[in-house]
């Protein structure tokens, strides 16, 4: 018998299992299982786990170190941290509460301009994104005043996820975007909650003064 060299990549027949090199099965299965855990397993567990964090009367949510609003009691906090509960990393700049299919989102970030300019910026960004979550602002905006006397603008919008309102405020270099959207039919108590939460948006300094008063 001549001393033939095994060709590169040749797998001896006794090492094959259903045609696959037996030696590669265990590492392949381990990596595939880990990838499946990351891609499907943990996300499925996250989706199946409900977030149960109902708003209590008197709760205030703070965004960054600049803005607060008072979520309506009974709504569920999906994102954001109550004032006074943030750890060393501080408060995030977005908060979201949901109730009866309605989602109320507040985002605070740096912005130099007027509320009307902020609304235009949001409209332009949304138009350019062309994503499923993009919103179409319907008609003209109108002015809106909060209970602390801050002036903003408000407009109706429609999106693939429903219809709603979008409000824009600017507090001393901080822009605030507030969206509330849900199904076409919303009951009266929920509508009242939305208006109350919109009216409660204020800069942190005003919130501190109101608390002191």
């Amino acid at each position: 018998m001549t001393g033939l060299e095994t060709p590169t990549g040749w797998v001896p027949v006794e090492r094959r299992l259903f045609g696959i090199d037996r030696r590669t099965l265990l590492p392949a299965v381990l990596v595939a299982a880990f990838a499946a855990l990351a891609f499907w397993g943990v996300p499925a567990l996250n989706a199946a786990t409900d977030l149960d964090d109902p708003v209590r009367a008197g709760d205030v949510i703070q965004l960054s170190d600049s803005v607060t609003f008072a979520p309506a009691a009974g709504w569920n906090i999906e994102a954001g941290i109550r004032q006074g509960e943030a750890g060393p990393t501080g408060n995030p700049k977005t908060a979201q509460v949901v109730h009866n299919g309605v989602t109320f989102t507040v985002t605070a970030d740096s912005f130099d301009g007027t509320p009307a300019e902020l609304l235009e910026q949001i409209r332009d960004t949304s138009d350019a994104e062309h994503s499923d979550s993009a919103l179409t602002i319907d008609g003209k905006s109108s002015t809106f005043t909060t209970t602390s006397g801050e002036h903003g603008v408000i407009a109706k919008f429609s999106a693939s996820s429903g219809i709603g309102v979008l409000a824009a405020f600017v507090f001393d270099g901080v822009g605030v975007e507030v969206t509330a959207y849900g199904p076409t039919t919303i009951d009266a108590p929920t509508q009242a909650d939305i208006i109350a939460m919109l009216e409660s948006v204020r800069p942190l300094d005003a919130a501190t003064e109101a608390g002191a008063a």
Binding site: T8, G9, V11, R16, G19, I20, D21, R23, T24, L25, P27, A28, V29, L30, V31, A32, F34, A35, L37, A38, F39, V42, P43, L45, N46, T49, D50, L51, D52, D53, I77, A79, G80, I81, E85, A86, G87, P88, T89, G90, N91, P92, D109, S110, F111, D112, L118, Q121, I122, T125, A128, E129, H130, S131, G175, E177
Partner: protein, 394 residues
């Protein structure tokens, strides 16, 4: 029947040792990527394939609005890749990994470990932390308790797959260290580009270039002592755990190295939470983490490079005996940077020092050709020897 002389006996032993170390180390072997019976290759293809698909969809979604930020950050990080690619290739100076393997490692790190594994796993686990322990806990500790698990294991999974795809060339813990570094480099580049892109909408998208550039600068400053280093340490650990024909299994050491990479990553991602938000303490911790990471990666380098240097010495020892190389040159070629500098500095004048530098490069070429030919005198080996003789007489 004639007896061999002592010098002939010695030469035969040295040549046999050379052939044995070439066979064991895989130096000079080629990698075939056509391996339909290799389950690891199929898993690699699926993971990278999804990652590439996700990249295309992300670019298509972001380009209408954030093309300038995406383009600029991608350009900057592409440029950032070059020196790190050069450096990592440079330290792989003994039995160098084939180009196809390092490219495969980079691609896996950039597209599979990021999009397929880390993105989904991190988001989901941080969501769970928020639901189980509260939003504040998730805000402070989410990244530190998610990324070390999904990102380091994700990158390490790439080293494991490549270990079984390219088993003919990935043989030592140092090979795992190098392959891991390239996986980490790919991960770093793509993740940094994503972070820069995610910064573009800040300020309601009014200054996408400014916002993304700010992130680019931050990521550039800390890139080397994060994913590249962590993955290199983890990669060496993977090979120690698995073992190969050239690497004795040391599962305890391997697990310790993997854990080290994960702990370093945890500390880096949790500096704000660990320091209680104190600005000075955060800076101190970040600097401390960078220093610790550098110490760890240099330590692992020193721990694993010995086998490579031994291989280089064994391959070239017969060349010293036949007068092609000197003992001093062998010590330089099989030694560290200090040994090489010492050899070059012993030259008299600039031209002699340049000649010594060229002799070392030519000696390395000879070692590569000997490995490629399995220790036999191929045409390329003979030519490489002639180059050394040419450099001797100049």
């Amino acid at each position: 029947m004639s007896a061999t002389t002592p010098s002939q006996q010695g030469r035969t032993a040295a040549v046999e040792a050379r052939e044995a170390v070439i066979a064991a180390s895989g130096w000079g072997n080629r990698v075939s990527w056509l391996q339909p019976r290799n389950a690891c290759l199929w898993v690699y293809v699926v993971l990278v394939g999804y990652g590439l698909y996700y990249t295309v969809t992300l670019v298509r979604a972001e380009t209408p609005l954030y093309a300038p930020a995406l383009g600029l950050s991608a350009l900057i990080f592409a440029g950032y890749t070059i020196p790190f690619w050069w450096f990592t290739t440079r330290i792989d100076r003994y039995s160098r990994q084939p180009l196809s393997v390092v490219v495969a490692a980079f691609v896996y790190g950039g597209f599979a470990a990021t999009w397929t594994i880390a993105l989904h796993g991190n988001s989901a686990i941080i969501g769970l932390y928020s639901k189980w322990f509260g939003a504040s806990f998730a805000q402070d500790w989410g990244a530190g308790l998610a990324a070390p698990f999904f990102e380091e294991l994700g990158k390490g999974a790439g080293v494991l797959l490549l270990l079984f795809i390219a088993s003919s060339v990935i043989r030592t813990a140092y090979d795992g260290f190098i392959v891991g570094a390239f996986v980490g480099l790919g991960f770093e580049i793509i993740e940094d580009t994503l972070y820069a892109l995610n910064s573009a909408p800040d300020g309601f998208g009014t200054d996408q270039i400014g916002n993304s550039l700010h992130t680019v600068v931050l990521r550039l400053a800390t890139g080397f002592t994060s994913h590249i280093a962590y993955a290199a340490i983890f990669g060496a650990g993977v090979v120690f755990i698995v073992g190969t024909v050239a690497q004795r299994r040391r599962p305890g050491l391997g697990l310790a190295l993997c854990a080290t990479a994960m702990v370093l990553h945890f500390v880096w991602d949790s500096t704000a939470a660990l320091s209680g938000g104190n600005g000075f303490a955060v800076l101190f911790m970040m600097i401390g983490c960078v220093v610790l990471t550098l110490v760890a990666v240099v330590s692992v380098f020193r721990l694993t490079v010995g086998a490579e240097r031994h291989a280089m010495r064994t391959v070239l020892t017969p060349e010293v005996e036949s007068g092609i190389l000197t003992d001093e040159e062998l010590d330089a070629l099989a030694g560290d940077g200090r040994a090489r500098r010492r050899y070059r500095r012993h030259g008299h004048g600039h031209r002699d020092r340049a000649r010594r530098h060229h002799r070392l490069e030519a000696g390395h070429d000879l070692a590569d050709e000997l490995a490629r030919s399995g220790g036999h005198d191929s045409d390329r080996v003979l030519f490489a020897r002639s180059e050394l003789e040419r450099l001797l007489v100049q």
